[in-house]
């Protein structure tokens, strides 16, 4: 191993520790790590900015940007608030039914949009409904964020790790639908039943409090019906574009950016409105992360690790998938699943390539996606959506401690990952 490779590993590990422990803002850690990689010569301008294998994955960045703009416009319409209150009223304000409705809305919206923004939109209205019900909102927020991580696993755009996997593995939107959605539907059904037991103490029904929910006027939340219909029209077009993107030979990032552009044009909103929800920090964090991981690829570290992994796996891809599923679940609980997947993707790509493109080798991507997405539920720092919800809860006077989250998260993670294992075995290795 060269001195440069050792230096690159050192920079990577230090930056990773800072990202995991959040001793400094994760954007600063990723950008600092990327800058040091450039300084030590582990990467250069060409490799960092223009190379597909070792540089910033612009497909990921622009797919995220496009979806953030679309959601930024959509949230101006009040549709999420309408849906959540409408659902709570349809549930006759009975606590468990309300939770189930909110869980299902969150899961479906997470699959169609992305889980981080979905929880950002659903959490405030959940707080309102719980305040009306006179109940502690923490169980509801926990149920929603875990549903968002499960639901988001179903599609290419549902969870940031999936976007990275899709880009690195050249997988289509339909590949995710066909391979991930079936198990996600099953997991969601099991999860809804689990909620009944996990949060059983919060389901106390008071008729007078239920009346306060029934008095909410959900239609008033729709502030701009014209914009709502235009936004929904564009969203349908974008989702159709995702489904057809491989047939049309158009990258998902292009579909998202075209949708964003169209929506901006028809919405008539000012830039402050439609760019207001773009999480620039997240996009910059991704860029820094890609440069760091690309540097490891560039200096040959990932290649060497891939060789070791390929030798260890041999042709036993089921063992590799098992290791990836459970290992990813554990590690994603400890560190945010985004940097984890960004790091693992080149390694898994090596393993898949060594399988000669077999279905068994290709299934390693689904093991990685399931492990990382579902493992994100284990702790409060496992996924970006968790961080968003715990932040909203704390700001509204309902702090969720790390251990409170973990107490429920571990159970949900263990059950969902254990159920995913036979799915992988039955579908790809039997």
């Amino acid at each position: 191993m060269t001195v440069q490779a050792i230096l690159a590993i050192t920079v990577f590990v230090i930056a990773y520790v800072f990202i995991a422990t959040e001793k400094i803002p994760r954007v600063a850690a990723a950008l600092g790590g990327a800058a040091l990689m450039l300084v030590i010569g582990a990467t250069g301008a060409d490799e960092a900015f223009f190379a597909e294998e070792t540089g910033i994955d612009w497909n990921v960045i622009f797919l995220l940007l496009g979806m953030m703009i679309i959601i930024g416009v959509l949230r101006q319409t009040g549709v999420f608030e309408f849906l959540a209150i409408w659902a709570a009223k349809r549930a006759r304000a009975k606590p468990y039914r309300v939770m189930v409705m909110l869980v299902l809305i969150t899961a479906v919206a997470s699959a169609a949009l992305d889980n981080v923004t979905t929880v950002l939109l659903v959490a405030p209205v959940t707080l309102l409904i719980c305040e009306r019900l006179g109940t502690n909102p923490v169980p509801y927020l926990l149920a929603e964020v875990m549903a968002s991580n499960i639901g988001g696993a179903a599609t290419l755009i549902g969870d940031p790790p999936n976007i990275i996997i899709a880009s690195r593995a050249d997988l289509s939107f339909n590949d995710f639908l066909v391979n991930m959605a079936p198990i996600v539907v099953l997991l969601l059904a099991v999860y809804v039943v689990m909620c009944r037991f996990l949060f059983r103490k919060s389901f106390v029904y008071h008729a007078d409090r239920a009346e306060r929910v029934m008095a909410l006027q959900e239609r008033e939340a729709i502030t701009d019906p014209v914009l709502l219909w235009r936004s929904l029209g564009v969203l349908v077009l974008v989702l159709a574009g995702f489904v057809a993107h491989s047939a049309l030979h158009v990258e998902p990032s292009i579909v998202a950016m075209l949708g964003a552009g169209l929506l901006v044009a028809v919405s008539g909103l000012t830039s402050g409105k439609y760019l207001g929800d773009v999480e620039w920090e997240t996009l910059v964090f991704f860029a820094g992360l890609f440069i760091m991981v690309g540097s490891l690829v560039n200096v040959g570290v990932i290649g060497q690790l891939g060789e070791v992994a390929t030798e260890a796996v041999g042709d036993n891809y089921f063992a590799a998938a098992t290791g990836l599923l459970f290992g990813s679940a554990v590690l994603s609980g400890i560190v945010d699943n985004i940097p984890y997947v960004a790091t693992m993707a080149p390694l898994v790509a090596g393993l898949v390539a060594s399988s000669g493109g077999s279905a068994q080798g290709g299934a390693l991507w689904w093991a990685l996606a399931l492990g990382a997405d579902l493992g994100g539920n284990a702790t409060a720092v496992g996924a970006s959506a968790n961080v968003v919800v715990t932040g909203i809860a704390a700001r509204n006077g309902h702090p969720i401690s790390f251990w409170t989250f973990t107490k429920y998260g571990i159970v949900v993670t263990v059950v969902t990952v254990l159920l995913s294992w036979p799915y992988l075995w039955l579908r790809y290795y039997l």
């Binding site: 009040g78 608030e81 209150i85 939109l121 959490a123 405030p124 209205v125 707080l127 309102l128 305040e131 009306r132 306060r212 008095a215 909410l216 006027q217 959900e218 008033e220 939340a221 502030t223 909203i392 700001r395 509204n396 006077g397």
Partner: protein, 172 residues
């Protein structure tokens, strides 16, 4: 005109004052903000009136303003009633309210200095304190504006003659 001439006695509240009582103080004295004092009566912060409203509007509604539309009248009344259970201290837990630096001027400060502090601190109320920190009153936004209008009117004849000093006066 100096700050000491514009200062008037403005009632203060403490952190323990209930939000309901604070609302009454603002309404009765037609104030544009609240002066929060410590137990010794020394002002420690000025909270603009619009920020005091944050005690009434739940945080999740502030984060998602479209939720304000879904309350019916009874629901809105319930939020008002909840003011009785809240105190001014909760304002200091709201991170976006800058209550740390007290907007204050010295008794001899001019209208420009008073206006500059109001602009800089985004505050409709400015506390007048002596050099030793003694509180001698406060200047409200409306009082400052009235003084500015009076000063401008006094300079009006000069403007009519086209003297350059007029524009200086209006800028001030």
């Amino acid at each position: 005109m100096h700050a000491s001439e514009l200062a008037e006695v403005v009632p203060t509240v403490t952190r323990r004052t209930t939000a309901l009582e604070a609302a009454r103080v603002i309404a009765e004295h037609r104030l544009s903000g609240l002066i929060v004092a410590d137990d010794a009566g020394i002002p420690v912060a000025v909270v603009p009136g619009t920020q005091v409203l944050k005690l009434f509007v739940p945080r999740y509604v502030r984060e998602d303003p479209s939720l304000a539309h879904v309350y019916d009248e009874a629901g809105a009344d319930e939020l008002c009633a909840a003011l009785e259970d809240k105190t001014v201290a909760e304002l200091f837990d709201i991170d976006e309210i800058k209550t740390q630096s007290l907007p204050s001027v010295l008794p001899e400060d001019t209208l420009v200095e008073i206006a500059a502090v109001m602009v800089d601190k985004h505050s409709p109320l400015v506390v007048v304190r002596d050099r030793d920190g003694t509180y001698s009153g406060a200047i409200t936004f409306s009082r400052a504006m009235a003084a500015i209008a009076t000063a401008a009117a006094r300079r009006q004849p000069t403007t009519d003659t086209g003297a350059s000093g007029a524009s200086d006066g209006s800028d001030a």
